[in-house]
Symmetry: C2
Subunit: 268 residues, 2 copies
């Protein structure tokens, strides 16, 4: 972090509720320090009912240069900014916003890029591959939006709320018509995909059911996780025990971080 905060120091932050667990400031402050930037990154605790008034206040803070938006605000902030980039519109959520030179705020969604970055670096590039994605909440929708924009062969999505999966599939098909998107029932068969992703919260707690059955995995399917804690969920543990390659959820923020820093720097 910047060793001295002065009157010229630029502000960045993360908006969350609760706030205690957030860790993105632990990535940004050392980054600012390393690059000798006159900036500081702060946690900002805003309960859900305060989001609109808080955003109105952020607009008046002229040395505030960007915000990471996280749980439970990713959908609310879609309607609080002035413009959304395509990935945020497609995902139905924004996880990072910045003011432009003219004072308008623009948002995008880099969650999917974090997932794809980790996949690309640790396993293989997404191009030409087939994906099963279980869970179409904030993280799942963002991953789906980025995947269909990444030259994949096909995407199959599932959610216990089937209507939510259908609505996401319709948005994805309309935006990127050349990628086939199918919807299947919850607890789907993971056989036959290059990558099977859990984007539900299942696996955070002991005794959670599994999003799909690892016993049905075949061939060399990669099993990927969105859940960050524990780092090795029961799903990943059982897949690895059967000899399948796995990708942990904790990679997403690390791979997303550099894209976040680029987005903040890209302000006009």
């Amino acid at each position: 972090m910047k060793s001295v905060i002065s009157g010229t120091t630029k502000l960045y932050g993360v908006v969350a509720h609760p706030i205690e667990h957030v860790r993105v400031q632990a990535l940004f402050n050392p980054y600012f320090d390393k690059h000798d930037m006159d900036a500081v990154f702060i946690p900002i605790h805003v309960p859900p009912e305060g989001a609109a008034a808080a955003m109105d206040g952020f607009r008046r803070m002229k040395n505030l240069n960007g915000l990471v938006i996280t749980v439970p605000h990713k959908m609310a902030f879609m309607t609080l900014v002035d413009e959304l980039m395509p990935t945020a519109r497609l995902a139905g959520a924004t996880n990072i916003i910045r003011p432009e030179a003219d004072g308008r705020w623009i948002g995008t969604n880099l969650d999917g890029m974090g997932f794809v970055g980790g996949l690309r670096d640790k396993i293989f590039p997404p191009e030409g591959k087939s994906f099963l994605l279980v869970g179409t909440g904030g993280a799942g929708s963002a991953i789906a939006a980025t995947l269909v924009q990444s030259g994949i062969a096909r995407l199959t999505i599932a959610d216990v709320l089937r209507g939510k999966a259908e609505a996401l599939a319709a948005r994805l098909r309309a935006a990127v018509p050349d990628v086939p998107v199918d919807v299947v029932a919850a607890n789907p068969d993971p056989a036959g995909y290059d990558v099977a992703i859990n984007a539900t919260p299942l696996g955070m707690h002991d005794g959670d059911p599994l999003p799909f059955d690892p016993a049905k995995l075949e061939g060399d399917t990669v099993v990927a996780e969105v859940v960050q804690a524990p780092p090795v969920t029961r799903l990943l543990h059982e897949a690895a025990a059967r000899g399948f390659r796995v990708l942990q959820g904790g990679n997403m923020l690390d791979y997303q971080f550099i894209e976040m820093a680029k987005f903040f720097h890209a302000a006009a």
Copy 2:
């Protein structure tokens, strides 16, 4: 400053326009660090027209524990908080605010305490002394409000806007009837007071006229200054050259700082 900002770090700040020159964060961050407090103090640049919306936003930031309010916001924030302590009401301005446990924000004004603290420490206690105060803007009003609450013998005030001086005098007399408060014309005769204070901006720039004539000083009057830069104004220079004791304006923030820290800690 706190070496690591985490999700549990409490926020404090200073609201100003412009922001580049503010220096109160340079007092608070080392203080937090020295006392091993999980807190950070940030500059917040809010233009005048954004004050109301910014305050509404600050109310939603639940890890924000207090704000110093400075130029040009000291009067506007009087009407933006939920409660004012007596010195702020008397001064007609607030320079520090904090949220109470129930979410209500309360403001006070410590500018006068900064002046009186410096006087007490460097020269003599104010009790029983007579004061001439030239200038009834934010700083002058705050000094006047604290002086009449400090057991002084009498206060004489002057302002080029005589109506402003009369209005302040009326508030002071109503609040503290046993201290005589007189109003005299601008450019007053400084003879016969224990302390003669410049609380106008005169002296910041070369060629500024003097708030009163140092050639008319008599006896052992102390000449005090509110202007912080230059540290030795022409007024102080000429008074010192004539053998009078002087008190520099730069002392005010330093003596006020510990009162600010106490005010933040005193939140219910």
